[in-house]
Amino acid sequence: MSILVSVAVAALVAGGVYLLLRPRTFSAILGLALLSYAANLFLFASSRLEVGLAPLASIKDSPFPDPLPQALVLTAIVISFGMTAFVVILSLRADSDLGTDHVDGTPGSGVGGSEEGGNGLLEETDGVAGDGSRSAGGLRGPSSPGGEVS
């Protein structure tokens, strides 16, 4: 089981870091989410992985898992959840203000607006209609996080 968990953490970190380095805010947010999942899973595993223990401390002498990492993970989940919500709003705002969902605020080279269509959430606030709808399209298609890579 240790191997399974470590492979899962490694895959999440690798995917998270890769997506974090992508040029669009949507992939960056997904990357942050994966990275925080990895961090939480790792933190959870920091009290050693045990199978078949009582879920809570009992009065008898039966062994029980260390409750502290669970409390820590809970704290970390709440924080990362709140921050994900914040960064989603911030990137929507950046998209409407800057007219692009590129993290540098300038439409990058080699990353065309491949996702067309969709009545953009932000078209009315956005002078450049195509750019506004691109982000909305990205948000509606979470199944393809790497979809922007043409």
Partner: protein, 521 residues
């Protein structure tokens, strides 16, 4: 039980909540409340400093014994940092009251939440609690950084937020490694267990310590991780940039605390690793930031790079890990934080009076208040560059003297002195470009400047210069105080460094149980 250590956290928290609940009251009342709260915090800081000079105080939250409960520890370092935060916060609140706070309802509430997070980070004695307070101050800082909006600010804010969220994820991973290897999160308890780590766990503990160093280095703006800073500080408003001068010091503080107490440089398991990493990185930071200051095309970018230079200098001293060098780092930190915060405010006032040219280093009409702004700029430039009689000079002498026995003395002296020289050149160039190379003799009245459209540099066109001057003057006076009262302050930081070099007292006080708790009360 003496409740003093928790007041610097509770007071801003309650102030912020009241300001949030009363979000719709008029701005004058909010400002009054905000300024009153921060003046109260000044009083609390004085009490904290007095208390910490007498004896260290441990506050057990919920009266749970350490290491099971979370403790707040008020030692000399924590009191010094809280005092510094309060001073910078006072300047930021006064300056924001010129009009920046009108651009949104909750500027003052966010600022007090930020103060709460800062004070909590400085006072806590639990490393996971440190993470939580980091998050509090970061969340507040996102709001403050973006306050007022604007394209430049949103774009830079996105980088800042994403970078720090990534940093937080690595912080959690580092804490998981610490807990997995050592089984505790209380800093004093960790310090004891690190001493007993066997060779089997050495690699894990070292990796955890270095991962945390990456996180703290990101906050402190050390070399590979500082490129976010000039853009962020350049894009945000002046009072927020001034307040953020203390944000980098949170990273510096965390490095000092963690690598003197939890993972001490001289501990067998660490084998001097923190010093080996921090010293070259800090020197390289100084070099690159000096180059950045030389290349700056804008006043704000210049000050932001000078801020990084000062971080490089103080981290060089920290990286030596001797009592003398830690004392030097702390003295220099007090000085440089105040002077950089003051410079951000002064530069914003100068930029205001230059119309659409703003802070760019190119010819523009003469600023209207050239005499007073020029004097303030000159004083702060001399101070930040390290000229006598200011604290920057004393601080750098202090740092250089503490490095005399270090093996890399030629590098350390050369880079710090060279950095000072080139910083001064950059400042002289900026000062002459702004005050002397004026395009024509027609002055821009602030009223005209306010009428002229300056869409992206907005925060300041609300109030007259004097109210901004008050804020800058408070910081400049405090900064001069660092030089005038160099004796008492030097004595204080010397004893702080002695306290840091001998963490046994701290550990015993935190873990000592009831009888020590009685003494602490």
């Amino acid at each position: 039980m003496n409740h003093l250590p928790i007041i610097p956290i509770l007071l801003p928290a309650f102030t912020a909540m009241v300001l949030l609940l009363a979000a719709r009251i008029d701005m004058v009342t909010k400002r009054a409340l905000s300024v009153l709260a921060i003046l109260a915090l000044v009083g609390v800081s004085v009490a904290l400093l007095t208390q910490a000079s007498a004896e260290t105080l441990v506050y057990r939250l919920g009266d749970w014994p350490a290491p099971f409960g979370i403790v707040l520890v008020l030692d000399r370092l924590a009191a010094l940092m809280v005092g510094l935060t309060t001073a910078v916060g006072l300047g930021a609140v006064l300056f924001a009251s010129r009009g920046l706070d009108l651009r949104g309802q909750n500027f003052h509430a966010l600022l007090h939440f930020q103060l709460m997070g800062l004070n909590g980070a400085f006072l806590t004695g639990d490393i996971f609690n440190l993470f939580v307070f980091f998050e509090i101050l970061l969340i507040a800082s996102y709001g403050l950084m973006l306050h007022g909006g604007g394209k430049e600010r949103i774009g830079a804010g996105l980088h800042y937020v994403i970078l720090n969220l990534g940093g937080s994820a690595f912080f959690v991973i580092g804490l998981g490694m610490v807990y997995g290897a050592l089984g505790t999160l209380n800093m004093a308890d960790l310090a004891l267990r690190v001493q007993e780590v066997g060779p089997g766990l050495q690699a894990v503990v070292q990796a955890a310590a270095m991962l945390l160093l990456v996180v703290f280095g990101l906050k402190a703006a050390l070399l590979p991780l500082y490129f976010w800073l000039p853009r962020t500080y350049g894009a945000t408003s002046a009072p927020v940039a001034a307040l953020f001068a203390i944000m980098t010091k949170v990273g510096v503080y965390a490095i000092i605390r963690v690598y003197t107490l939890v993972f001490p440089n001289e501990a067998p398991v660490m084998a001097g690793l923190p010093g080996k990493v921090i010293l070259p990185v800090a020197l390289a930071t100084t070099v690159f930031a000096t180059l950045g200051a030389m290349a700056a095309k804008d006043l704000k970018a210049l000050i932001a790079n000078l801020l990084i230079v000062s971080v490089g200098v103080m981290m060089t001293a920290v990286g030596l890990f001797t009592p003398a060098s830690l004392a030097a780092a702390l003295y220099y930190m007090v000085h440089s934080t105040l002077v950089v915060a003051a410079l951000f405010l002064i530069v914003a006032m100068i930029a205001d009076e230059r119309g659409s040219v703003a802070g760019a280093l190119k010819p523009a009409p003469q600023v209207a208040h050239a005499a007073i702004l020029g004097t303030l700029f000159f004083v702060c430039a001399a101070a930040v560059g390290g000229l006598p009689p200011f604290g920057g000079f004393l601080g750098k002498v202090y740092v250089l003297r503490s490095a005399t026995d270090a093996p890399g003395i030629a590098w350390i002296w050369g880079i710090i002195l060279g950095g000072s020289l080139f910083s001064l050149l950059a400042l002289a160039r900026a000062g002459s470009a702004v005050f002397w190379k004026t395009s024509d003799a027609v002055g821009v009245d602030p009223a005209d400047a306010a009428a002229a459209e300056v869409p992206d540099d907005e925060e300041s066109h609300y109030g007259p210069v004097p109210s901004g001057l008050a804020a800058a003057t408070v910081l400049v006076v405090l900064m001069s105080g660092v030089a005038v009262f160099a004796g008492p302050l030097g004595g204080y930081v010397d004893q702080t460094a002695a306290q840091l070099a001998n963490p046994e007292g701290y550990i015993e006080l935190v873990l000592g149980g009831d009888e020590v708790g009685e003494v602490a009360q």
